[in-house]
Symmetry: C2
Subunit: 348 residues, 2 copies
């Protein structure tokens, strides 16, 4: 469309023809996009991980409750902050007792669209992530299931909520069920964006710069990895296909990625491809938060993954496309729940 | 009302008379309550500290923004959590870098109704509290104004918001103005409760147990201190008028209260009287969070302030009254704002 414009600049007789040609080009771009991407579903329930209202509501409370962690001062929402679209604006989060997390926080919004969880794919599902986090020394600091449940069981308001969410179980207050409840909640957190409206056929949903950016995003080759419902999140890929990533990002230390999990040399510097939904709202970027702005991140990716030097104008268009992936915060995430009151036992 | 009931128990001929007598007693209790307490205003603006829409909206962003503090991992809302009605469920909050706060967090809801701020009254206004917190070693960790503003100035989205909130100032991004903006925001946070509806004349707003509790709250003498618009927050008082407070609370260490501020022996163990609004939602209790539950806190207060041993039935009624002071969370507090994106400079 943009190129076509340049060709005909100044030729007045094309006024009647231009709209039809432009419309055909617009339709072709949309068709291409619909083959590469999918709009968000209304939620992210699966056969294995269904959503029930009771579980999702309980999970929402638990997500915001700091009493799950050792000093009762950090919750899931401490790093996955609504105000930052489920991230924390830091290169790497700070865990309980100032313990450093090794990698940048990925947003929990739309996270159920990813095929695995975490940068290295070492969590099989949202539920697996929550389960492991509940006794992680960095995320929780609680030593075992007993430590978590003993604290929770003293908060009277939770007992009937666990019973309602897991009605067939005599002892429903378990780490497994906390994980299922928080997972069910997270599977409700989808953020339909202007791009989803576009994929549904609404040409007006994207401004011209975003459409130009989409075309460049496709033609530059970004869609080899950033595709599907998450615009990413569907596969592993080496970070640094044509050039070592740290030469472009300045990363220090150098993270070997999935290799550390599998010890397979093919996995050296391999990470889960990040979903780009809401990417404009979640700086800094990459597994170590080493790049602060979206234009710089787009240039780094083009350079080290595709060997392309992205100019400023193309970068602006691609960023305009990426901005069209910003959705509205779900109300059940933006608005904090009122937690069942209950003091943490005072230290005397 | 309760006593009247006891007198007439079993006398069937009073059926026609009882409603009129009860109505008269209800009316007398309401009249007495209206002399002791006032309903919440629609906001807490003053001549010295006015609210403008621009300042309150900016202040809301700043309140939720962790980038004001040294490691960018704590905001005002880390201790004043919406999910806990502006508190944190801990005896004493944990500040930046795990530094311990010396006293329990008072809720920021309705806080503009208090005559001074903090347990010892060493902050003259909400704005003074915010201003001092911005460079407090425990609350912020930032060393000085330059450190705070340098970080904030790099977040592009804030510049126009400060300009709009302080239109006559060439350099509006200052600690003083952050304090004014957050103060303006906090002055909007009022939580009208069933008790306010009752004070406005709606007898149906309080259940019978709450009215019985109100009567006991008045007759036991609690209202000597817990009165006015905040049901407290209007004066200083010694904690432990008839008995050392720590004998009832188990407090350790013993806090000398306002004496540490003024060095006046008359201020030994003196604290600002706490507002009881939303008290049922904000355990634990007292300046050191030494008491975990509201019934126990009510008994401790009756014992050490008034020399009264409160029985379980009276305690239940008084707690029912205190529960009627729970209001709805303001929408601009319960719902997190979307913050201007901007990464904290990565440490490389």
């Amino acid at each position: 469309m943009a190129k076509f414009h340049h060709c005909i600049a100044g030729i007045t007789v094309t006024f009647a023809i231009l709209p039809m040609a432009a419309m055909a080009e617009d339709a072709a771009l949309l068709k291409q996009a619909q083959e590469i991407f999918q709009a968000l579903p209304k939620d992210m329930a699966t056969a294995e991980f269904p959503i029930t209202r009771e579980r999702a509501e309980l999970g929402r409370l638990l997500f915001f409750d700091p009493r799950l962690t050792i000093d009762a001062d950090m919750s899931c929402s401490s790093c996955h902050q609504p105000a930052f679209y489920g991230t924390d604006a830091l290169p790497k989060p700070i865990g309980v007792r100032q313990r450093p997390h090794p990698r940048h926080v990925p947003t929990n919004l739309n996270a159920g669209t990813s095929f695995v969880i975490h940068w290295r794919g070492d969590r099989t599902s949202l539920e697996d992530q929550v389960f492991q986090a509940l006794t992680s020394p960095i995320t929780s600091g609680q030593s075992d299931e007993k430590a978590v449940i003993d604290r929770l069981a003293r908060i009277q308001g939770y007992t009937p909520l666990f019973e309602a969410a897991f009605p067939d179980e005599p002892q429903p207050m378990t780490l497994r069920n906390i994980a299922k409840a928080v997972g069910a909640y997270e599977r409700t957190l989808v953020t339909p964006s202007p791009f989803d409206a576009y994929l549904a056929g609404n040409q007006e949903a994207l401004p011209p710069a975003a459409k130009a950016g989409l075309e460049k995003f496709i033609n530059t080759g970004c869609v080899a990895c950033h595709n599907g419902v998450g615009v990413g999140g569907g596969m592993y890929q080496k970070f640094g296909v044509v050039e070592d990533y740290w030469k472009a990002t300045g990363s220090d230390p150098i993270d070997k990625g999935r290799f550390e999990v599998t010890k397979d040399p093919n996995d050296l510097y391999v990470f889960r491809v990040a979903s780009l939904r809401n990417v404009a709202m979640t700086p800094p970027y990459f597994h170590d938060g080493s790049v602060a702005t979206l234009p710089e991140a787009a240039k780094v990716m083009a350079r080290v993954q595709l060997g392309v030097t992205l100019g400023d104008a193309d970068t602006r268009d691609i960023v305009a496309f990426l901005e069209s992936l910003t959705g509205e915060l779900p109300a059940n995430f933006a608005t904090a729940p009122v937690l069942p009151p209950g003091a943490v036992t005072p230290a005397k």
